[in-house]
């Protein structure tokens, strides 16, 4: 294995893979969302473009690519252009720290299925996904018109206040796994034989609710409420810039679901490890389990969107400050107590 291959080809290959992975997941997600929401509403959804509408996201992206790129005259040019990049960049960068499976032994070389694995990978991913809030704020502010501004202000308050319960519940997982390293957390779940989702169900539920809220989805989609704010913070965006916002939203959903799977449902571990009779499940590679679990949570996102009405702003904030944060705190104390007594 010449250093040229080891130090250049493989890392570049991995980087391309990490960029492609969310893009493909976003394409799948766009198709999945429009089909599933349509079927839930008693209609068919896109099924003319390619087999069963599979090429629909490709058509959307290509069309948006060739659209005229309008920058409103009264907009603040620099901020206006930076915000879609910020939103997209933060989610793609966060994907570098998401491990996709156990390292593979390829001949003599061990291929690690992630780009960077740091002892504080969890914090870095949370921090990076928080950068997207800046993109939304700059975008809403720079468009210099009333509806985007209101959308951006709503998004600021919502995402910041939902970071707190998310952070607290993530702490309980780190507490249980005694480390912040995502790979270590999964290995810890494997060795302890029980997934944290079942060990600490309250943490899972609170984290899931704040994950849905942070990605501005479903009942919490106030920043881009079509019926009130026309199109929320990305009202003034068109063409490829809007495509960034549109895809970044899905990328954040994939990021949040993969986080939930890693932290609470044992990433790439096959289910029912302990049971000897089901040992054949180990034959299936870890990455496949990982994908199945992520798809389940993405389906859950879409299911929630098709059923629930939208929260009003004050009830949204009351939910987090009166219910989620106290619950997360109590849960954190309980976990700490249990750890201390054992």
């Amino acid at each position: 294995m010449t250093p040229f291959v080891a130090d250049l080809l493989i890392p570049v290959g991995k980087i391309i893979a990490v960029i492609l992975y969310p893009m493909i997941m976003v394409m799948v997600m766009i198709w999945l969302e429009r089909r599933v929401v349509a079927l839930m509403q008693g209609r068919l959804g896109p099924n003319r473009v390619g087999f069963q509408g599979v090429l629909q996201p490709v058509a959307d992206a290509a069309k948006l690519f060739f659209k005229e790129d309008i920058i409103p005259r009264q907009a603040d040019k620099r901020l206006f252009n930076i915000s879609p990049i910020l939103v997209m960049f933060s989610s793609l960068l966060a994907f570098c720290f998401i491990p996709l499976g156990e390292p593979l032994r390829v001949g003599t070389y061990t291929l690690t299925l992630w780009i960077a694995d740091s002892p504080v990978g969890l914090l870095i991913v949370l921090g990076l996904s928080a950068i997207s809030v800046f993109g939304v704020i700059f975008g809403g502010w720079a468009s210099n018109s009333k509806y985007p501004l209101m959308g951006a202000l709503r998004s600021v308050v919502q995402v910041l206040s939902y970071e707190i319960p998310a952070g607290l519940t993530v702490l309980t997982v780190a507490f249980a796994a005694r480390s912040m390293d995502l790979v270590e957390i999964v290995r810890r779940q494997e060795s302890s034989g029980i997934w944290y989702g079942f060990l600490m169900p309250v943490s899972f539920v609170v984290f899931w609710i704040s994950a849905v809220a942070e990605t501005n989805r479903a009942p919490f989609d106030l920043p881009e409420a079509e019926s009130e704010l026309v199109a929320g913070y990305h009202t003034e965006y068109s063409g490829m810039k809007f495509a960034y916002f549109y895809m970044a939203e899905y990328a954040h959903m994939v990021l949040a679901s993969s986080l939930v799977v890693l932290l609470f449902f044992g990433g790439w571990l096959p289910p029912f490890q302990g049971v000897k009779a089901l040992a054949f499940l180990h034959a299936v590679p870890g990455f496949v389990w990982y994908l199945i679990k992520i798809m389940f949570f993405l389906y859950l996102y879409v299911w929630i969107r098709a059923t629930f009405p939208r929260y009003r702003f004050d009830s949204l904030i009351r939910l987090v400050w009166k219910w989620l944060i106290p619950l997360a705190l109590a849960n954190f104390l309980a976990v700490a107590l249990v750890r201390f007594l054992r």
Binding site: G45, P46, N47, V49, F66, F242
Partner: protein, 167 residues
């Protein structure tokens, strides 16, 4: 470059086919209904007729992200400047469809406050007659528009901007 374009080398023709295929199959209509035709437009997007099958499901509320302007209903003189502004706010390449007799030619209202036909203020690609046109009629109009897009040559417009359509 434009002379070589006359011979429409293979590359540009293929690019045309791909671009028009993408534009044809992801026409996002602009959700602006004016009168009775708006209800039929929504019925066309609803479960039974479902234009989501052709990829037209996302009724964008903001003109910036829409590429098809369906003028569904009566255009009054008070609404005309608003409609023109909405049309200008839409990014190119954009198409428009005059749905219903009121939008096409003023319909049953030869009165002081109605604009006799929306093509007085915006260029119209497809006229759909009917008062209101049935969802099948509207879908037929949309299919004609898709054929019109398939025949267009976006690369020609990109290469020499002066050949651009009057907007």
């Amino acid at each position: 470059m434009s002379e070589t374009f006359e011979k429409a080398p293979f590359l540009l023709a293929r690019a045309d086919r791909f671009i028009t295929w993408a534009q044809k199959n992801s026409l996002w209509p602009f959700g602006s209904g004016l009168a009775c035709c708006a209800i039929e437009m929504i019925a066309t997007a609803a479960a039974r007729y479902d234009i989501a099958r052709f990829g037209m499901e996302l009724f964008r509320a903001s003109p910036r992200q829409a590429d098809l302007f369906i003028v569904a209903g009566t255009v009054t003189n008070k609404m005309a400047p608003v409609l023109r502004r909405l049309w200008d706010q839409m990014p190119d390449p954009k198409w428009s469809l005059a749905m219903g007799n009121c939008a096409v030619c003023g319909g049953p209202f030869p009165t002081y406050s109605v604009l006799q036909g929306v093509d007085k203020i915006i260029p119209v690609d497809v006229y759909v007659a009917g008062c209101p046109p049935t969802p099948q009629g509207l879908i037929h109009g949309l299919m004609i528009l898709q054929e019109k897009i398939a025949r267009s040559h976006p690369t020609k417009e990109i290469l020499n901007p002066d050949a651009r359509r009057p907007s």
